[in-house]
């Protein structure tokens, strides 16, 4: 799925990449808060567009646009579902207000998709794990999280390989009614799950063989140090949050 491309970490040297992962997590949280705060088109549009310069600064516009393209379907679905449910509630009539709200909901999705995409594109799971550890989350959870992320592309690749093998045995995924088509995914999901289980066994063996859990106090090759630009970014985000709250109060 091309939408997943928008979440694969890139290894570049841009100001955004170099930001402390904890600051980026703060960015994630604050943008999410801002996006949820508003349900009007204009503020949500501002929140979405304001991130575009960040995307450009991080030099990840290609990957980001792929996630946008993939996400368009969902955005349209959100627009459609909102409109239909509101119209139905009002006795099957449509007015401008309903359309505006539905557009706003779709924009909220776009804003969130952008910020999550930007976060994952510019933050390596290794650094993320470090950030989580420094926030006193037990290492086992951080490790599970980053390992899962690391394997998303591998599992996606495997799903494709399995689909290829089954199609070569005559499985036609695009034929049949809804029930039939859903059943056709069993030959793809079953082997995928079996493979995931086998893989986790092999990983566990390798982890043990590298003394995982040997020491209660795990050390680290890297260390996280906040730099001036991190403080500036954090300050800017705090300011943006405050402004949002104020604007919300008025709007």
């Amino acid at each position: 799925m091309s939408m997943l491309d928008g979440f694969k970490t890139t290894v570049l040297e841009t100001p955004i990449h170099e930001l402390d992962p904890r600051v980026k997590m703060f960015m994630l949280a604050s943008v999410t808060a801002m996006a949820i705060m508003f349900n009007k088109v204009v503020p949500l549009l501002v929140i979405s567009l304001a991130q575009v310069p960040l995307v450009l600064l991080a030099r990840v516009s290609r990957e980001w646009s792929r996630s946008m393209r993939g996400g368009m379907i969902f955005a349209l679905m959100i627009f459609g579902m909102n409109l239909v449910s509101r119209a139905a509630y009002a006795g099957w009539t449509v007015d401008a207000e309903m359309v505006k709200v539905s557009v706003a909901m779709a924009l909220r999705f776009v804003a969130l998709l952008t910020t999550f995409s930007l976060f994952f594109l510019t933050t390596s799971p290794d650094k993320l794990s470090l950030a989580l550890e420094s926030m006193r989350i037990p290492y086992e959870y951080c490790f599970a999280f980053t390992t899962a992320i690391r394997f998303i592309p591998i599992i996606a690749f495997e799903a494709q390989a399995i689909a290829d093998a089954q199609r070569s045995r005559g499985l036609e995924l695009d034929r049949g009614n809804l029930i039939e088509r859903l059943k056709k995914y069993v030959p793809i999901l079953t082997p995928l799950i079996v493979s995931a289980i086998r893989r986790s066994m092999e990983l566990a063996e390798a982890m043990e063989s590298r003394a995982f859990g040997a020491s209660k106090r795990r050390t680290n090759l890297y260390t996280l140090k906040l730099k001036p630009r991190d403080y500036v970014a954090a300050a800017a985000l705090t300011a943006a949050l405050c402004i949002s709250v104020l604007v919300r109060g008025v709007v």
Binding site: S2, D5, E158, A161, I162, D164, A165, Q166, R167, S168, R169, G170, L171, E172, V186, P187, L189, T190, P191, V194, S195, R198
Partner: protein, 270 residues
């Protein structure tokens, strides 16, 4: 005949996997496709049954353009056995696993039963008919994977790295199977790294590197050009290296040939 005419293929992420590949495979031919990891071998065979359609160029199977057929239609004629058999199993029994493709292709019930029983017998898998495919050993799994493809009698049989992780006995069995398939008039295409395996059975060899065909000809010819082999990350067979050391140029492909050559030069033997 499978005809590949000046095929170019670029993946959606921009990687150019094939850059102008042309070749043809006739019924009864035995072809080995070799090259480094990422050379385009698997990409090429996926064009044979329409899993991939060329970005430029054409692929014809018995005269039919792959762009105008579905994978299911093409797979009837071109059976591909992919690399990791565990990647395909999802049924509760070996019987069901072998029957899967037959059902997909629309064979009538009685024919399905006939074919499955016959195929299981042929591969010595009858005693496993009711067993779960997941509980079999590695070699047995491989047999089930091959059996499930041969059950529908494809005219062209393609195998992707069939010798990986197999011990000597299993490789010998595989070779015998290939010879039987060839005797039955089918075409067999094997994608492999295993130089010794290829040297043993002397098929036509196609060398691919970076999306282009470097060589396409008799095993002897292709394997005597060490420079070319090196470009495709292929290591020359031991006997070729050996005769190179003795004579300054490779003059044998496998042990049999080397022994025949040397015995006549040394004036011994029959």
């Amino acid at each position: 005949m499978i005809e590949v005419r000046d095929v170019h293929f670029t993946y959606p992420n921009g990687v150019q996997a094939l850059r102008g590949v042309s070749l043809s495979v006739d019924r009864g031919e035995f072809v080995a496709i070799m090259g480094e990891n990422g050379a385009g071998k698997t990409t090429l065979i996926k064009h044979f049954n329409g899993l991939l359609k060329p970005t430029k160029g054409t692929v014809l199977v018995d005269g039919v353009d792959t762009r105008k057929s579905t994978v299911a239609q093409l797979s009837r004629k071109v059976g591909i056995v992919f690399q990791n058999p565990e990647n395909q199993f999802f049924c509760e029994s070996v019987y069901d696993e072998v029957a899967f493709a037959l059902k997909n292709f629309g064979f009538p019930e009685d024919e399905v039963e006939e074919r499955v029983t016959e195929t299981l017998r042929r591969f010595g898998l009858e005693k496993y008919a009711k067993r779960s495919p997941f509980l079999l050993s590695g070699g047995e799994k491989k047999r089930v994977a091959i059996a499930s493809v041969l059950a529908w009698d494809p005219e062209y049989v393609v195998m992707d790295e069939p010798t990986v992780g197999q011990d000597y006995k299993a490789k010998t069995e595989l070779l015998n199977l290939i010879y039987t398939l060839l005797d039955e008039g089918r075409a067999v295409v094997v994608v492999t790294h295993d130089v010794e395996f290829v040297a043993e059975c002397e098929p036509r060899v196609v060398l691919i590197s970076q999306g282009r065909i470097l060589a396409d000809g008799e095993a002897h010819e292709v394997f005597s050009d060490f420079g070319l082999l090196s470009k495709a990350s292929v290591v020359p067979p031991q006997s070729a290296r050996f005769t190179q050391m003795v004579f300054g140029q490779p003059r044998a492909l496998n042990v049999e040939e080397a022994v025949r050559l040397l015995s006549s030069m040394l004036g011994v033997g029959r």
